[in-house]
């Protein structure tokens, strides 16, 4: 049986008066691209730093590639590539110099022309060939981010942990970064944090949502969308206030978003209980003061699931 790339059980971390992690559980399977989602301060960076051995958990257990992070040591770190949230490199070094010096720190690294080839290849993959001789101090935030990805990959890791890889990138840079992550995923497990839900939908096969130091949902994208409920799109004409009040009072209705266009209203009804869908249509058509023009299952987006799951947790 293959060990998970990342396994975390009841992980807690307290910084003096702040409880950053409150019993986090998560599993990331090998070969997956896992998006780690959560609002600011939810504990994403803390989790990644614990996995990298930069800080220690207060209690609980975490393992990367089968090794307990408290005892993982150097061999485990040699198999992980890491991009910190705000990557910082020696200012006087060139892009090529940074990648080459990091490459030399990994076991079994190539030498001579083979090292140069690998370094140049990586710089090319992150789209910085024309900036290879530029010093770090002259790079923009986005360029530093791309350099960060290059150095994270230079050890040919089995697991790549990226802390907000597309933060601060312009749309073109973000697109390139997503392509790069997709490319990496064919060779390594990718665990990355982000706020950009569209990115997760595009490249992730699994998602972990975290809020207030706990996982509120995890699984495949489909699982997440299903678990968080279903949305139905309804188009109505006529007097709708009555039916809206009746629906809102139902316990299986999570909420109704309304858009008005002249005499027509578009509703998006969120059901917290999928089985209640059978009761929705009879209820809608029972109101004679309005007509149901359209009714169908809406394409649920990750953003909806995120707002439901994380928003509900915020309301605790």
């Amino acid at each position: 049986m293959t060990v998970p790339a990342i396994e975390i059980r009841q992980l807690k971390k307290r910084y003096r008066k702040v409880e950053a992690l409150r019993g986090l559980d998560l599993t990331v399977d090998q070969g997956s691209v896992c998006g780690f989602l959560g609002p600011n301060g939810a504990g994403k960076t803390t989790t990644m730093k614990i996995l990298m051995g930069l800080i220690q958990s207060s209690s609980g257990w975490a393992a990367v590639l089968g090794d307990d992070v408290r005892d993982a040591g150097l061999p485990a770190r040699a198999r992980i590539g890491y991009l910190p949230q705000d990557p910082v490199f020696p200012q006087y070094q060139t892009v090529r110099g940074v990648v080459a010096s990091v490459a030399r720190l990994y076991p079994g690294h190539p030498r001579g022309s083979e090292l140069k080839r690998r370094v140049d290849d990586l710089i090319d993959r992150v789209g910085m060939t024309d900036k290879a001789r530029r010093r770090v101090r002259g790079l923009s935030g986005g360029e530093r981010q791309r350099l960060g990805v290059a150095q994270a990959l230079v050890g040919e890791p089995d697991l790549v942990i990226l802390d907000e890889p597309s933060a601060g990138l312009d749309p073109m840079g973000r697109r390139d970064m997503l392509s790069l992550i997709e490319e990496i995923s064919s060779q390594a497990t990718v665990f990355y944090s982000t706020h950009i839900l569209d990115d997760v939908e595009r490249i992730s096969d699994t998602v972990v949502m975290i809020s207030k130091g706990r996982a509120v949902a995890q699984g495949s994208l489909d699982d997440i969308l299903t678990v968080s409920g279903s949305d139905y799109a309804v188009r109505l004409r006529g007097k709708t206030s009555g039916i809206r009040d009746r629906l809102t009072a139902e316990p299986w209705v999570g909420g109704i978003d309304v858009r008005m266009h002249a005499e027509i209203e578009d509703w998006r009804i969120r059901l917290t209980d999928e089985s209640a869908a059978d009761r929705l249509v009879p209820l809608l058509v029972s109101d004679e003061s309005c007509d149901v023009i359209e009714f169908h299952l809406s394409d649920r987006r990750l953003e909806d699931a995120y707002l439901d799951l994380v928003g509900a947790d915020d309301g605790d």
């Binding site: 730093k49 930069l54 150097l74 890491y82 990557p87």
Partner: protein, 280 residues
């Protein structure tokens, strides 16, 4: 991707020096060439500022030249060491480069030891290049002091043992001079280790800098100005060097051994503290 299993097997789980060589190369670039050139230039400027007026003295004596230079040089080296190393550890932690480094297959002790070793090399080059450049001038000055006659010296000679006062300082032999420089280097090593320790324990760079200056002040006060330093302490080295410049006999072995022990303890504590430090 997949790192080769054989290569991974070569890494010991707890190899405390893993990555030392690579990091040393990076750290040496921090010291060479500009830091070292600056320190050498500072020492030579201090010497020139003392030597040029000294040449205009009516009676040239070696003592004031040597004592003046060594006292100011020690002060400059100590303060420069504090200024140049206060951010070595804490600065890296604050900037985030420390997190970046230890996320790679590098042992945390290697980070501290590479910084210390690079500083040791930089300071050795500084001390021996400056000291070596100054020695021929001191030798020339010694000749001037011996060849010129001073009437008062005859009376002083009658009442004081030879070699007690700066006026009768003799040029140290090359062997003693090198031993002096080695001792001075040892004192700077202690400071480098002390700054590593402070950087690993304290959370404010201002506090690290301030504590380093206080330590330098204590060594200068007890070793150079008052001369009350314990022989087996780092300040004892400063005291012994000034004693030799004054023509007195001074044992260097005791303060050097004491200082090396203090350096080893400070370095071990720095490694221990950095190992436990959370890189948030």
């Amino acid at each position: 991707m997949k790192t080769e299993a054989a290569a991974l097997e070569r890494i010991e789980r707890r190899d405390p020096l893993r990555g030392f060589g690579g990091l040393l190369g990076v750290e040496l670039r921090v010291w060479f060439p500009w830091r070292v050139l600056f320190l050498i230039a500072a020492g030579l400027v201090v010497f020139a500022l003392i030597y040029l007026p000294w040449r205009g003295f009516e009676v040239n004596q070696l003592g004031p030249l040597m004592i003046g230079f060594l006292a100011f040089w020690i002060a400059i080296l100590l303060v420069s060491s504090v200024a140049l190393t206060e951010g070595a550890v804490l600065g890296e932690i604050e900037r985030g480069t420390a997190s970046w480094l230890v996320a790679m297959p590098i042992a945390r002790p290697a980070v501290i030891l590479a910084k210390f070793a690079a500083g040791a090399v930089g300071l050795a080059v500084t001390v021996f290049a400056t000291g070596g450049a100054v020695y021929p001038v001191l030798a020339d000055a010694a000749k001037r002091g011996i060849t010129e006659f001073r009437a008062e010296a005859v009376f002083e000679l009658a009442s004081q043992p030879i070699g007690q006062w700066g006026a009768y300082t003799r040029l140290p032999s090359w062997g003693i001079y090198i031993a002096m420089l080695l001792s001075l280097w040892t004192l700077l090593l202690f400071f480098a280790a002390l700054m590593m320790l402070l950087g690993s324990v304290v959370r404010s760079r201002t506090a690290v800098f301030g504590l380093g200056l206080v330590a330098a002040g204590v060594i200068l006060a007890t070793g150079v100005l008052v001369g009350s330093a314990a022989p087996a302490s780092p300040a004892g080295i400063a005291r012994a060097v000034i004693d030799i410049a004054q023509g007195k006999e001074a044992a260097l072995i005791t303060p050097v051994i004491g200082t090396l022990l203090a350096t080893a303890v400070a370095l071990a504590l720095a490694v221990w503290a950095f190992n436990r430090r959370e890189l948030t």
